[in-house]
């Protein structure tokens, strides 16, 4: 009983309250309402997912046929009846060389997902082998004061995911370090708020692409004579600058709108300025600050893909772009795989932030 209670608590705390009947199923205490909720909360969504896949399949089928017809038509007008017949036979045979290039079907995407995983295994094995092979030599090089030899092969899809996560966290951290302190200072002083307001209002809606170019102009000059990975620096700074505005605005709002009663308490207790900020104002604006941070993280993840795509910095964004440029017959389905992975990771990041927000916030019931 106690076990099921804690299980329920944990799932609810994580914002997965809908899993409650499922945990009931798990702990062996099933009630009639639970079955009804399972029906409502699980069967219906699963049915809708199946419907989605079905529509997707039908849609891609239709697009495939359109593209095929167009190809045959083209062969007919350009090269005559014989070429058209050959094209028709070629498409029907499933030969890779002449497949119509269009929206991939769910089965193709699933297959690409498997391919990417297999590819990851191959590359990791290769990496491991490389490490073993160069271990002795690297030791010598390090001892001699030289840089060790690193693996320069192609990164796998999973490696790209981790690179992207690294970039997004670096950018998020940068946004946090810039936006929270500035937000607090701006929130405390009405004068500063009105003097910074134009800046915030003008820069908030600027597109990630422009930020990237601006950061590129500055970082390019500053890292001219170092051999650092400037692509990573450029992309994480751009991500930070794009995404910090939500936190900045929320923090300033939270700090400036602290309940007057709490301020009165601080005055009656005669708290010093420092104490007032850290013991009264900050704790009471924490829920709003975290709402801002949550928005920041999801914005950071969203713009990251676009920025990686443009900055040629490794990660999911450049994976998508390279696959698009690549034009292999399974490129399109790999792009769709990346799309799902991006969405799923974005969702998980949001859940993690929600959990942290609930942990630090005094108002446990708040949370969206």
């Amino acid at each position: 009983m106690k076990q099921s209670l804690t299980l329920n608590k944990v799932t609810r705390f994580m914002g997965f309250g809908t899993l409650k009947p499922f945990t009931a199923l798990f702990t062996g205490k099933v009630q009639k309402e639970d079955i009804l909720t399972i029906l409502k909360k699980f069967i219906v969504p699963i049915a809708s997912i199946l419907l989605f896949i079905g529509l997707w399949h039908a849609g891609s089928r239709a697009l495939f046929n359109m593209e095929a017809d167009y190809k045959i038509e083209k062969a007919l007008t350009d090269q005559g009846q014989k070429a058209a017949n050959e094209m028709k036979a070629c498409i029907a045979s499933g030969d890779i060389s002449c497949q119509p290039n269009t929206l991939p079907s769910p089965t193709q995407v699933w297959a690409s997902f498997q391919t990417l995983l297999k590819d990851h295994k191959v590359i990791s094995a290769d990496k491991l082998a490389f490490k073993e092979k160069t271990a002795a030599m690297n030791e010598k090089r390090v001892a001699a004061g030289q840089d060790p030899i690193t693996y320069t092969g192609r990164p796998s899809f999973v490696d790209q995911i981790f690179t992207s996560l690294k970039t997004v966290f670096a950018g998020f951290l940068l946004a946090l370090l810039i936006a929270v302190p500035i937000g607090i200072v701006i929130g405390l002083s009405e004068t500063l708020r009105s003097s910074f307001n134009w800046l915030i209002q003008i820069f908030k809606p600027v597109s990630p692409v422009v930020w990237l170019l601006l950061v590129f102009m500055i970082v390019k000059t500053m890292t001219k004579d170092s051999n650092q990975d400037s692509a990573f620096i450029i992309s994480f700074i751009s991500v930070g600058l794009c995404s910090m505005w939500a936190t900045l605005v929320n923090t300033a709002m939270g700090v400036s709108s602290v309940d007057k009663d709490y301020i009165n308490v601080a005055k009656v207790l005669k708290l010093g300025a420092f104490q007032k900020v850290f013991k009264v104002i900050l704790p009471s604006s924490l829920p709003l600050i975290f709402t801002g941070l949550r928005i920041t993280l999801s914005v950071a993840w969203m713009v990251l893909i676009a920025i990686e795509l443009l900055a040629q910095s490794p990660g999911l964004g450049s994976f998508v772009w390279e696959e698009f440029q690549n034009g292999a017959n399974d490129s399109n389905s790999k792009i769709i795989v990346a799309m799902f992975v991006i969405g799923l990771i974005g969702f998980l990041l949001d859940r993690i932030m929600l959990t942290i927000q609930k942990m630090v916030s005094f108002n446990k019931n708040e949370g969206l």
Partner: protein, 279 residues
Amino acid sequence: MSYLELRNICKTYGQGAGSTKVLSNINLKIEEGEFVAIVGFTGSGKTTLVNLINGLLQPTSGEVLFKGNPVVGTSHERGVIFQNYSLLPWLTVGQNVQMAVKEAFPKEKKGEISKRVNNYVEMVGLTPAINKRPKELSGGMRQRVAVARALAMKPEMIIMDEPLGALDALTRGNLQDEILNIWSVDKRTALLITNDVDEGIYMADRIIPLRPGPNATLGPEFKIDIDRPRDKTALNDNPNYKKTRNAIIEYLMDIGNERKSEAKTEYVLPDLSPKSFVA
């Protein structure tokens, strides 16, 4: 020289044409060790008066003297119990009290501070709830925490702004007794702001009605000559109590009627009669 003195206090909010004069010509003297109650209608400027005395607000004209010195800001000498508890929701009961103790006794060591905190939490009977947050407490318990927080700073004077206003009648009665018990231990000067005449008579030495604002002023004072400790049930048969109570209520009713006759807007009601569906 009085312990606390208000001299010709006026308080105006806003400026120019949009300004409202909330208090005017307030004169009040409170002696050391006295328990004074100010009774008034809601919206008559009671909270403004309290904030002037505890130093959160400054009067537009006139001055507030505490032990002969003008009040310019808040001070640990005057403890305040707010109308809406004003506990910090992210701190536990103990931490809320501790915050006040730490500020009032900055030189004390950790052990001494926590001892003080425990003492005051125990005094209001909340030791079992010391690690709970205000949200988990009932209204009465929250108000007790606020009492403990105000007293833990060892103020020389306690200012209570409708401390029991939001509580139900039974809890209210209990807390009145508790506050009186705590007060009777070292008889610190106390100022109670309330809208309940019975509460004022039961607790205070003197009752002063506040004529409702705008331009609120203090009315004539009523002395309460009933021996302490007072017994709530016996009080009902006390002729002295009845007399004072009737006098105060009559006074307040008169003010209320005066206000009504001053109101000039007359609402003309439409002449309506129910329609008969039977015929």
